[in-house]
Symmetry: C2
Amino acid sequence: MSDTRILSLDEIEELSFRALVAAGTSEANARPLARATAATEADGIASHGLAYIPIYCEHVQCGKVDGTASPLLSRPKPGVIAVDAATGFAHPAIDLGFASLVPAARAQGVAVLAIRNSYNCGVLGYHTRRLAEAGLLGLGFTNAPASIAPSGGATPVVGTNPFSIAAPGPGGEAAILIDQSASTIAKSEVMKHAREGRPIPEGWALAPDGSPTTDPEVGLKGSMAPSGGYKGVGVALMVEIMAAALTGASLGINASPFSGTLGGPPRTGQCFIAIDPASTAAGAFDAAIAELAGAVHAQGGARLPGDGRRAKRAAAGRAGVAVSEATLARIEALL
Amino acid sequence: MSDTRILSLDEIEELSFRALVAAGTSEANARPLARATAATEADGIASHGLAYIPIYCEHVQCGKVDGTASPLLSRPKPGVIAVDAATGFAHPAIDLGFASLVPAARAQGVAVLAIRNSYNCGVLGYHTRRLAEAGLLGLGFTNAPASIAPSGGATPVVGTNPFSIAAPGPGGEAAILIDQSASTIAKSEVMKHAREGRPIPEGWALAPDGSPTTDPEVGLKGSMAPSGGYKGVGVALMVEIMAAALTGASLGINASPFSGTLGGPPRTGQCFIAIDPASTAAGAFDAAIAELAGAVHAQGGARLPGDGRRAKRAAAGRAGVAVSEATLARIEALL
């Protein structure tokens, strides 16, 4: 495409950092978010990369995020790290927590990081992958404003709430990386169809009375369809329990929107569990992961979750990423 | 129905116990399995209650399960309990592990139980519910012989692999109990249709080449359809990593069948994570769970996972359970 420009990962990180700081984010808080933005572009997830920088900047300026917040860590038990994100960005709170979570998991065999008063953490698998790169199995949960209705109901009670699991490989990489939301499709896709005035396929969203709809505007007033029906609701509830109830964060029914400028801080949460597989599997973990991955890759055309991101990441490290000129223009206007 | 008989929960437990012991199970191993069988009938899950007792007895007699095994516990780290089920029943291995898991989770804030060389653990939510009744948040994972194919492939690599989460309520009960498999429908339903010569709905199972089928025999030679497509595969992979790779148990691709007498012990695994919510949520957990449950129950007709089992359990405690006379005849013939 002619309306893109190739940027290196370092250039993406620096551009993100400068824009965030220009909007009033402290350097200490801007750095981890800028780093995650570059990694997300490297993974090929443009919807959550640079395109989010103008939104983050707007949220600092309207007070939905405190750009100068200092997250506060406590250690209530040997295996528990609790971080109050203090209505700042999730990324510095996660960084602060991981610095204690990783050694705690190595010492105890397992440790939990519970983050409250937080914000949208971007791509959840970016964070669990870092645990795998530290040689730990990482489980992650993050909640969002309510958009999925319970079975038998029509009013949203839980968000599209993703979970993620990253399994470490022997070479310091994530051998398997699962990162999936509880809805059939991302809410941003329904919003995109609404902006473009196009109908949505049946099965993406439901009308306010719970009936199927192909009108994206009606779907946005109703609820997102859970993946696999009641089992998608179950996944969203699991994540809500882990990321909000277990951390002391806001439930999705009480959280302000992640989009727009209204409502103040969402105060949602994240929960991560890190486990040392060397302590649980009696030396058998690496071989099992390799055999499982091998059984998938032996089938022509079959793939594991995370394969696509890994291939894109390797290419982006060598050749950079093609970024939309329109997105770059919006960010450069903020500097 | 005239072909049922009302039994009290104690009668169900004793009948199960006597049949298991008559088949060669030690009393120490028969008791937890008999107790779980009564609880499963109380929950209204007849498919996994007394109907399984003749199968368990046959598996002791053919050597698929060692009825006199002694599970072996080790404590490699303060937060990790590992149990080798020694190809015995899963239930005594879980009991042995929980006796250490519960105090470890209270002391550390979080602990993991990894069980290998194990067997079908019956209803997974029976076990996580016990953690919730001890005031802990319980997460559970158990793997099964491979029956679901990866995205883009047609050969099974993971089982119908359920996960479960049980959130404790303030009164010592499980306020929310999620227990769901990764497939659209239980494999036993496809087997039942095959026995009865009835077609299955499209979307339940796939032919060996990965195409849709309504023939249950073809589906049983092919694979089970994952719930929600690739997201169901993701759930099954998460469970496989937790229950098999992380514990040192057999992967589903190497496990012998749970049904029939061939192949020796399946050597599959279970993993449980117990977390003390008092240590992670700064006192906010009970109110959050109550508010989340309240938001569901405020909608007429809406329900939470676990509501149905709880209602049936209350009724069964008062009035007993109607059990199939045919099932009772099969069990009484074993005494």
